[in-house]
Amino acid sequence: MPRTADQYLSAPQVPGDNYVHASVYTDPELYEEEKENILRRTWKFVCHISELAEVGDYRSHTWTGIPLVTVRSTEDKISTFVNSCSHRGAKIVRDPAGNMKHMTCFFHLWEYDLLGNCTYQTRDEAYEAHGPAKKDLGLREVRTDVFAGLVFMNYDGEAMSLRDYIGDAGEPFEDIFNQYDLEVFHYNQTHVRGNWKAWYLTNCDLYHEWGHLVNRTTSVLAPGYHDRPWRLNPEGHGYNAHLLDGSPFQVQYQKYKGWQNRDDLVFKGLVPGEFRVIDIFPNLSVFFRATCIRLNHSTPLAPGHTLMEERGLGVKGESKEDRKVRSKQFVQIWGPFSRNASEDCAYVEATHECQEHGANPYDLMSRLELLEDNVHERIHSDTYLRHFFNKWGEYMGRPANNPKNFMTAAE
């Protein structure tokens, strides 16, 4: 039956971690705190190593509003710098990608080498007398590391190592990634009117597969679909790679009109049609669909504004024909003209439209479906969503189900 306003606004009668308050997606103060407490303290995915194949290759990007550039400084070193000239602060590298011998600010032509040292000041005699000297004007370097070909950065110099951070969540993809020389063949980005967590959690909320025609057709009726457990990692990651008995889950692509099975070009370590998803806190998702690997990452820009990035990985040097097949199968699901990713954008924007001004005060995540072992939860359970927000609460020092009142009480 319909609810009154009081009933509608009162907290759901479920355990406290089974729902979150919608302000976690919309509140500007919480967003600023997230930047400080989560986004500047955790490992952020930058790009795939193949995008930085040669010395001087770079990718520019932003994180928590800070322009950055990640560059292959030497054969053995990937570096990230704050992309701002030490002189007047102008953005130095302005293209999204390319190759450079050094970094030159277009404003007054100051120059930096690929290790971030300031190497040239126009008419530098004026600084020799008064300072500061070039040696004191290097770029701000940000900690950078690589795991299985994935380049990450972290503003926090004291944070745990990247390998320790990823932990067992690397198991479903590290070996597969490392046995190939992979490269990015697909990239697209989209500005989504929605919160970064809402985007990421759509990747993690596999219950939403019922919304996609492709998933309803090819997956939910396939053997083993409901028998996959979520595995949770203490750093906030989650993954599902196998059924409880260890066997793989295989999607039946041929059941979608006009599509074929994915029996060829399957990555070693997978079986035809195999599906896996690995979600790395706070917002990187790695997907396998037998022949395709997807890296999905987002950059929060404001509480209701997120830049979503999509990458597809193939095998470097594979034949033109094989690449065509792999690319085609990737964009069927995840490209801007696909059957899946564009629908995810629509879900996130429709949710944000209702949360932005309080039309829906709570986000319910109380589904609990146990597998036969009565321990692990099925992939349709909301266990990873609860896990994510428990971790969010640890970093933020406040519960996600009542973050603003908690703040008031604490004050």
Binding site: E51, R59, D95, P96, A97, G98, V184, F185, H186, Y187, N188, Q189, T190, H191, V192, G211, H212, L213, Y256, K257, G258, W259, R311, K324, S327, K328, V331, G335, P336, F337, S338, R339, A341, S342, E343, C345, A346, Y347, E349
Partner: protein, 152 residues
């Protein structure tokens, strides 16, 4: 009978208008049996040419048949096309270059430019009416909002 340039232009313009109207049967009738349809662009981010859509007749037919069942972008598209060049390749085919602007109108009636690009078409002119044998929609636009299930 020789197919005229005007007939070639008309098949290209019709491909826009019937797709605007989502008359998918009429759209498919404008292509040869063995056609290849692609949406491509050059990514400045990965410094590579890439294909965002790549379908043959069976795949496009299946896709269009399924469109009504998909969760999709509401509203409508309007394609504004101008044929810039037609070059004959002997008696049977011609290449056509068409500049295309795609407008998107929301269900509430607001309109904005959704994408710009160029059709690189191969037109089969060997029969009584021209048919599109290959279409490569080269997008200049690299960000298309939440995307779409439809060819452009």
């Amino acid at each position: 009978m020789t197919i005229s340039d005007d007939q070639i232009k008309n098949v290209i313009y019709k491909s826009c208008s019937v797709l605007d109207a989502e008359d998918f049967d009429a759209y498919m009738d404008l292509y040869t049996e063995e056609f290849d349809y692609k949406v491509t662009n050059y990514s400045r981010e990965i410094r590579k040419e890439q294909e965002w859509m790549d379908v043959n007749r069976a795949e496009l037919k299946g896709l269009l048949a399924n469109v009504p069942q998909h969760s999709r972008l509401l509203g409508s598209f309007m394609r504004h096309a101008t044929v810039y060049e037609i070059e004959r390749n002997g008696a049977d085919t011609a290449n056509a270059l068409t500049y295309v602007t795609i407008y998107y109108t929301t269900p509430e009636g607001a309109t904005r430019v959704w994408a710009v690009g160029r059709y690189h078409d191969v037109i089969d002119v060997s029969g009584e009416t021209p048919l599109i044998a290959d279409r490569d929609m080269k997008l200049e636009t690299r960000e298309v909002g939440i995307g779409t299930h439809l060819p452009m």
